[in-house]
């Protein structure tokens, strides 16, 4: 492992984004801000500890090769599925949904870890698949994505549930599935949406989903307030005199609506900076995926980046009134341990692939001649370390 191979821009973007998150938390916790009285310095400290722990863990996870994850992919997938099923059967209701496992001072959200496990499992299956040309060969990856979708949907956690299918599509696409089959899948999904909307959702979920489609006046209270806060940030952020009631009260501002704080405090400059940082993140991750010759690594990077990207679009969109309220957090920025931890685990995995872009052997890559092994000299025990096939 050479540190020079580490993708520094990617790491810097992620750390800066988390910095924005801490900054907005501090802004909410400041004594002059009366709009979110329940946020105090205790939250800032807690988040800082989470941040430090996550970064430390991410660095440690750069040491072993990412190929280990392949060995445990199905195991992790199974464990997460069992956790989700157990949650549905015995889990407590937290804010109307069975999504969290309370563990003393913190609570874990298995759906977040399922995202990682699902990507690893899909990548492992796809990288070993003989072909992806028949519907039969697509059945297993479809099932791998459908199970978590269903388990998360019934919690109910609509936002996370609807992420799995697009990620699956992207991974199939990169994995080499035929375009016609993918187009057919997209059409089936588009046709299924109205049925799920009519029969699978509760009225309030429907309202949330379509609320933003109406005119600006019909946005929900939260979104109206959020848009107003974003607008009041103007170009360079607003500066209130001491003693003013700090404007907008937005429930869950430190988690789902954290982007509106950045936009209000730092204006267009700050809110653009966040988007640019995410842009750097996607570009660098894309470069890693493109450069690596290991199909497993490539699929992992694509899957994780897409999960992250979709969350960014939906979360920022709901903050500025162009996407429905779904309860998705903004990666790296939002308050919350589970969210932050999975973000940095994803980051570690992506960076790890970037560190080890050396060719590995998958039969299919060899067949198609993408991999050249001319001049490659395996280090001692290299084949052994690649793990069991």
């Amino acid at each position: 492992m050479k540190l020079s191979r580490l993708d520094w821009p990617l790491l810097a973007a992620a750390l800066t984004l988390s910095g924005f998150g801490l900054f907005s938390l501090m802004s909410l916790a400041s004594p002059g801000n009366l709009s979110s009285v329940s946020i105090t310095n205790a939250h800032v400290i807690k988040q800082a500890i989470f941040f430090a722990a996550s970064v430390g863990l991410a660095i440690l996870l750069l040491l072993p090769g990412y190929q280990v994850t392949r060995r445990f992919a199905y195991l992790a997938y199974g464990a997460c599925a069992v956790a989700l099923i157990g949650l549905l059967l015995f889990g407590p209701y937290t804010r109307g949904a069975r999504g969290w496992i309370p563990l003393g001072p913190i609570s874990l959200q298995p759906a977040e870890f399922m995202k990682l496990a699902c990507v690893f499992a899909l990548a492992r299956w796809l990288s070993f698949a003989k072909d992806l040309d028949s519907w039969r060969s697509l059945a297993i990856p479809l099932a791998l994505a459908a199970v978590p979708t269903a388990l998360v949907f019934v919690q109910p956690d609509l936002g996370n549930a609807m992420l799995f299918f697009p990620v699956l599509l992207a991974m199939l696409f990169v994995g080499g599935a035929p375009r016609k089959k993918l187009a057919a899948l997209v059409i089936v999904a588009v046709v299924a949406v109205p049925f799920v909307y009519m029969y699978g959702m509760k009225p309030y979920q429907r309202d949330r989903l379509t609320g933003f489609l109406k005119t600006e006046k019909d946005l929900s209270y939260q979104q109206l307030q959020s848009v107003a806060a974003v607008r009041s940030g103007a170009f360079s952020g607003r500066d209130l005199p001491e003693g003013f009631n700090h404007s907008f009260h937005i429930p869950d501002r430190h988690t789902d609506f954290v982007y509106s704080i950045v936009a209000e405090e730092l204006g267009f400059l700050g809110s653009s900076a966040v988007l640019v940082l995410f842009g750097i993140f996607f570009l660098q991750a894309g470069r890693i995926a493109h450069r690596t010759v290991d199909p497993y690594g490539r699929l992992v990077v694509i899957g994780l980046t897409l999960f992250c990207g979709l969350q960014v679009f939906i979360n920022v969109g709901m903050n500025i009134g162009v996407a429905p309220i779904t309860g998705l957090t903004l990666p790296f920025v939002s308050y919350g341990g589970s969210s932050l931890l999975t973000c940095f685990l994803s980051l570690a995995a992506i960076l790890n692939v970037g560190l080890r872009w050396v060719p590995t052997f998958s039969g299919r890559d060899m067949d198609r001649g993408h991999v050249s092994i001319r001049g490659f000299k395996p280090p001692p025990f290299y084949w052994f370390r690649l793990g069991a096939r």
């Binding site: 004594p31 105090t40 267009f268 988007l275 570009l283 993408h370």
Partner: protein, 635 residues
């Protein structure tokens, strides 16, 4: 595996970012929030919703909501200008003590809100709540409201908000039908058991949990925010239904308050509102009541006197016997519902609560008098039972010689007790006409008590009638099953409607309606809705005999109500003198009847408490009411 496809996915990720960037460019650079908007203090507030009106059958308004002005205060700003206090007192003319108490109340609320949250959050909550408008005075005058609104700099931190005030234009008339409202803050006491230990949440907390005050708020602002609004006391001014139609038809009548964001510029007091949840107005409820008839009955009852010449508590009900729709129910022991609406008239309320003689708040129509005795009118039920069970034939006669069982002192005929006389040979119709006790004692020897209980129950005694007014009492139909020590004399007493039979006037109305309409049990009611009548299965011959007797009460030579003007309207009915104090010979005077005798259009029940003889006190009142009711009947 096609590596070029990675590039496609990566570029697909960058495209939406561009879209979002365009949107924030639009929001923050091209259409930024106005500078003035930034300096506003914002708070959530309620938009009051009109409660539905209560109308009588002609559409006259018995209750409506009128707009009024409420005063809210932002303590932080108000206390910055010390003179504001004196100015406010001078303007509104309220005593300083009231202002102090109101401010004290606000601080208590803030402390309570702070107590609900962890220690570290409290300083911020305190600072925020001091900058939030809190209710201060309700119902300030129009002039004060204008002065405060137009001179914001003189009255910093004072916010005039629209409020609602319930008004009952007919005051005491029909109060027991319409009912009254009370402030939600009055329902904050937790429920307690007999020993005074709290057993459950208060009615206010229950309603709050059910979303009574905040329907539609949860989806918009969340549960926490609703609790905050409750903590600030914004729901405390909402009126809760306490009695009458206001209570039974509350689901229709009540409006659902809306929610708005109130934006204030603390420097100038300038306000703007941004509605979040629109208020929904309540629906009107039209009653079967004829308020003009009710008013006239009130004036007739106003000088109701007992045989001793003293003014007595009296009440009367008029209904359509075919449907059970009540046209009027008025008592001269009534109250003014306006007294309950803030600013409450405490002296009046105190009088209503403490004056045991009138007990104006007691709804005697559905709860009965203190002594719910009925007396001879129950003989209608006895007659029906005996005829239906075949224990007696209409023309069977018994001899009344004044004393039925000399060994049982309680079994004398009233004519013996009063005049030392006797009725002689009487058949059933005669017995009803003259209210002969001995005849019914004889029936008591001929039929088992169970048959009487069955028929009395069918006619509606001992059970709630189901009238659409709250807190109805079922009354009591005694039997050996309910009374451990049941003596022979008790059965005799029950056959003439004495012993421990207790009734409500509305039960009597239900029975007399059944006689008048040909044997259908109706549900007496005042409001809209379906109240179907069910047939009791009385034989026509039974009804004919009873009606013959009731007609003779008014028209016969020896009828107990022959000396009244009831015959002028061709009425039929039964008098009752229900003894509730044997030693002092005190009795309630009853009359229950209908007019005209053959094609009944009105059923009437009159009760004069402690009025003495039904024939002498209740029947003349009934005659005047019947004459009034018949005169308004459209021909």
């Amino acid at each position: 595996m096609e590596r070029s496809r990675v590039l496609v996915v990566a570029s697909l990720l960058l495209l939406p970012l561009g879209g979002l960037e365009a949107r924030i460019l639009w929001l923050q650079v091209l259409r930024p929030g106005g500078a003035a908007g930034d300096l506003m203090n914002r708070s959530l507030d309620l938009a009051p919703a009109l409660r539905g009106r209560i109308l009588d059958r002609q559409g006259k308004v018995l209750a409506f909501d009128d707009w009024s002005f409420d005063l809210h205060v932002v303590v932080d700003e108000f206390e910055k200008r010390p003179a504001a206090r004196e100015d406010l007192l001078a303007l509104t003319g309220r005593p300083a003590a009231e202002l102090d108490a109101a401010l004290e109340e606000i601080y208590k609320r803030v402390e309570k809100l702070m107590g609900l949250r962890p220690e570290r959050e409290r300083p911020k909550i305190y600072a925020r709540e001091r900058k939030t408008p809190y209710p201060l005075f309700k119902g300030i005058s129009k002039e004060s409201a204008y002065a405060i609104e137009t001179r914001g700099e003189k009255f910093p931190g004072l916010v005039v908000r629209e409020g609602l005030r319930r008004i009952y234009p007919y005051r005491e008339i029909g109060a027991h039908v319409v009912g009254y409202l009370g402030r939600a803050s009055g329902a904050k006491e937790p429920q307690r058991d007999r020993a005074g230990n709290p057993t459950g949440p208060s009615r206010f907390d229950k309603l709050l949990a059910e979303g009574y005050f905040s329907e539609g708020f949860d989806e918009m602002v969340g549960e926490e925010e609703v609790k905050l609004l409750a903590g600030r006391g914004l729901f405390d001014g909402i009126m809760l239904p306490l009695d009458g139609v206001e209570r039974t038809y509350d689901d229709k009548l009540r409006g659902h308050p809306g929610l708005l964001i109130l934006e204030r510029d603390p420097a100038t007091g300038k306000k703007t509102w941004a509605p979040i949840v629109a208020p929904r107005q309540g629906e009107d409820v039209t009653l079967s009541i004829d308020i003009e008839l009710q008013k006239d009955i009130a004036s007739i009852l106003g000088d109701a006197r007992g045989e001793d010449g003293l003014t007595k508590v009296a009440l009367a009900m008029v209904a359509d016997p075919a449907t059970g729709a009540i046209l009027a129910m008025q008592s001269n022991a009534s109250y003014d519902p306006n007294a309950f609406i803030p600013p409450t008239r405490t002296a009046d309320l105190e009088r209503y609560r403490t004056d045991a003689a009138t007990a104006a708040l007691r709804n005697r129509f559905v709860q009965g008098s203190k002594h719910g005795v009925l007396g001879s009118i129950f003989k209608i039920a006895t007659s029906a039972a005996a005829l239906e069970e075949g224990r007696v034939k209409p023309r069977d006669t018994f001899v009344c010689n004044g004393r039925y069982r000399p060994d049982l002192p309680g079994t004398n005929c009233w004519i013996w007790n009063k005049h030392g006389g006797m009725h002689g040979d009487v058949n059933l119709a005669d017995a009803l006409e003259q209210s002969c006790n001995c005849y019914f004692y004889s029936l008591g020897d001929r039929m088992p008590l169970g048959e009487l209980s069955t028929w009395a129950g069918k006619l509606g005694f001992g059970a709630k009638t189901g009238i659409d007014l709250p807190f109805e009492f079922p009354g009591g139909l005694p039997s050996p099953a309910t009374h451990a020590r049941w003596r022979n004399g008790d059965s005799y007493s029950l056959f003439i409607g004495q012993h421990e039979l207790t009734v409500t006037p509305v039960q009597v109305l239900k029975m007399i309606c059944a006689v008048a309409n040909g044997g259908n049990a109706v549900t007496p009611h005042v409001g809209p809705g379906e109240f179907p009548a069910t047939s009791l299965g009385l034989r026509p011959a039974t009804l004919a005999t009873i009606r013959e007797g009731l007609k003779a009460v008014v028209h016969g030579d020896r009828g107990t109500a022959r000396q009244t003007e009831l015959h002028a309207v061709d009425a039929a009915g039964k008098t009752g003198s229900a003894t509730f104090n044997v030693r002092d010979h005190k009795s309630h005077a009853w009359f229950a009847g209908y007019a005209p005798a053959d094609q009944a259009k009105f059923a009437i029940v009159v009760l004069v408490e402690d009025g003495g003889s039904g024939g002498h006190t209740a029947a003349p009142v009934a005659a005047r009411i019947a004459a009034r009711a018949m005169s308004s009947e459209p021909k």
